[in-house]
C-alpha cells in the first residue's frame, strides 16, 4: 500500500514550486549507498512504493533498505469532462516534493556491486534522473 500521512491539518495543499537545491537530506546518512535525485519535482507515493518493491525484491532479506522521502503533499485533480470552476478538485494522490540532490533511497549490508545494480533498477522507476552515491568521506 502506498504511503500517505496518518493525520493532516488540511486535506488539500497549494501546488507551490520546487525552487533551489536540496540543502538537507542530500547525503547518505543511514545506509552505505544511496540513490540521489539530480532533478526536482514531485515523487508520487506509488512511485516510492514501486521503488521499494523493486529494491526489496532484489535485496531479498540480505541487506537493509531505507526510504528517505515521504509523500506529505496531497495532489488534487478534477474529474474528466467537468466544466471549469466549482472549486478545487479532490485529492488524487500523495507526493513527496523532491529537490535536486535529495537522497531517495539508501541500502546497507550488501556489497557495492549489488547495491549499484539494486539502485539502478530503482532508478528506472523514478521520474527523475538519478545517480548512485556512497557515504561522504569522513574528515
Amino acid at each position: 500500500m502506498a504511503m500517505m500521512p496518518k493525520r493532516v491539518k488540511y486535506r488539500k495543499s497549494q501546488r507551490g514550486k520546487v525552487r533551489g537545491n536540496a540543502q538537507r537530506g542530500n547525503a547518505v546518512a543511514m545506509g552505505e549507498f544511496g540513490l540521489q535525485a539530480l532533478e526536482g519535482g514531485w515523487l508520487s507515493a506509488e512511485a516510492i512504493e514501486a521503488g521499494r518493491i523493486t529494491a526489496s525484491n532484489f535485496i531479498r532479506g540480505e541487506g537493509r533498505l531505507y526510504i528517505r522521502v515521504f509523500p506529505h503533499k496531497s495532489v488534487t485533480a478534477i474529474p474528466l469532462e467537468t466544466r471549469m470552476g466549482k472549486g478545487k478538485g479532490e485529492p488524487e494522490y500523495w507526493a513527496a516534493v523532491v529537490k535536486p540532490g535529495t537522497i531517495l533511497y539508501e541500502v546497507a549490508g550488501i556489497p557495492e556491486s549489488a547495491a549499484r545494480e539494486c539502485l539502478a533498477r530503482v532508478a528506472y522507476k523514478m521520474p527523475f534522473k538519478c545517480r548512485f552515491v556512497t557515504r561522504r568521506p569522513n574528515v
Partner: protein, 211 residues
C-alpha cells in the same frame, strides 16, 4: 594513526558569495582558520591540495599561511548539494598536547555467521565519536564480526579501542547487530473512503457549543 598532510594556503582578501564563486571557478577553495583565541584568518587553497587531504582522510593538517605552519583540524567541509565539490573548509587550530573529540569511521571485518542463518546485518553507528590526543587519532575503528550470530550485537562498551582513545558515546549503544529478517506482510487494500488521512480539527473551547 592518521598521517598529517601539509596544506599550503594563502590569505584571502575578497569576501562574499560572488568572490567565492569566482575563486572556485579558478580551482581554488575558500576557507577559514580559527581557534585558540587567536585571529580568524580567511584563506584560500588549491582544490588539488584539499582533495589530497580528503583522499587520505587526514583529520589533522599542517596548514601553511603567512609564512608559518600550524597544526589544524579539518572541522567542517561544506559540500555542494550533490556532494561532488567542496565549497568551503573550516580549519581549527589545535596543539600537539590537546585531546579532541572527533568522529572516526567504524569498519567491519569478517563475515557474520548470523547472516547465513537468515539474519540481516545492521550497522546503526557508522561514525563513532571518540576523545583522543591530536597526534594519535586512529584512522578507523575495526570491528571483527566473525562471531556475530543471529540476534547478537556488538555495543560501544565492547569495542577494542587503541590506547588513549575513549569512546564518547552511550556505552550501551549498538554498533552492529544481526537481526532477524522482518517479513513485511502486504496490507490488504483499504476500503474506499478509508484511503484518506484523518483531518486534525480544533477542539471546541470550553463553554462553546458546536453548531
Amino acid at each position: 594513526m592518521v598521517e598529517t598532510v601539509p596544506l599550503p594556503t594563502r590569505p584571502r582578501d575578497q569576501f562574499g558569495s560572488k568572490n567565492a564563486r569566482r575563486l572556485r571557478q579558478q580551482g581554488l577553495i575558500p576557507g577559514v582558520i580559527y581557534g585558540h583565541k587567536e585571529e580568524v584568518v580567511a584563506v584560500v587553497m588549491s582544490r588539488e591540495d584539499l582533495d589530497r587531504v580528503i583522499r587520505k582522510a587526514a583529520h589533522i593538517v599542517d596548514v601553511e599561511y603567512n609564512g608559518k605552519t600550524e597544526k589544524a583540524r579539518v572541522r567542517e567541509l561544506q559540500w555542494d548539494h550533490l556532494g561532488k565539490e567542496v565549497l568551503h573548509v573550516d580549519l581549527m587550530r589545535v596543539s600537539k598536547d590537546e585531546r579532541i573529540v572527533i568522529g572516526i569511521p567504524v569498519v567491519l571485518r569478517g563475515h557474520a555467521p548470523g547472516t547465513s542463518e537468515g539474519g540481516v546485518l545492521d550497522q546503526p553507528i557508522h561514525v563513532l565519536n571518540v576523545e583522543c590526543p591530536v597526534l594519535e587519532i586512529p584512522e578507523f575503528i575495526r570491528v571483527n564480526i566473525d562471531h556475530l550470530g543471529l540476534g547478537q550485537a556488538i555495543h560501544v562498551k565492547e569495542l577494542t579501542l587503541p590506547p588513549g582513545v575513549v569512546a564518547k558515546a552511550d556505552p550501551d549503544a549498538v554498533v552492529v547487530h544481526v537481526k532477524a529478517h522482518r517479513v513485511v506482510e502486504e496490507a490488504a487494500a483499504p476500503a474506499e473512503g478509508a484511503a484518506e488521512p484523518e483531518v486534525i480539527k480544533k477542539a471546541p473551547k470550553a463553554g462553546e457549543e458546536e453548531e
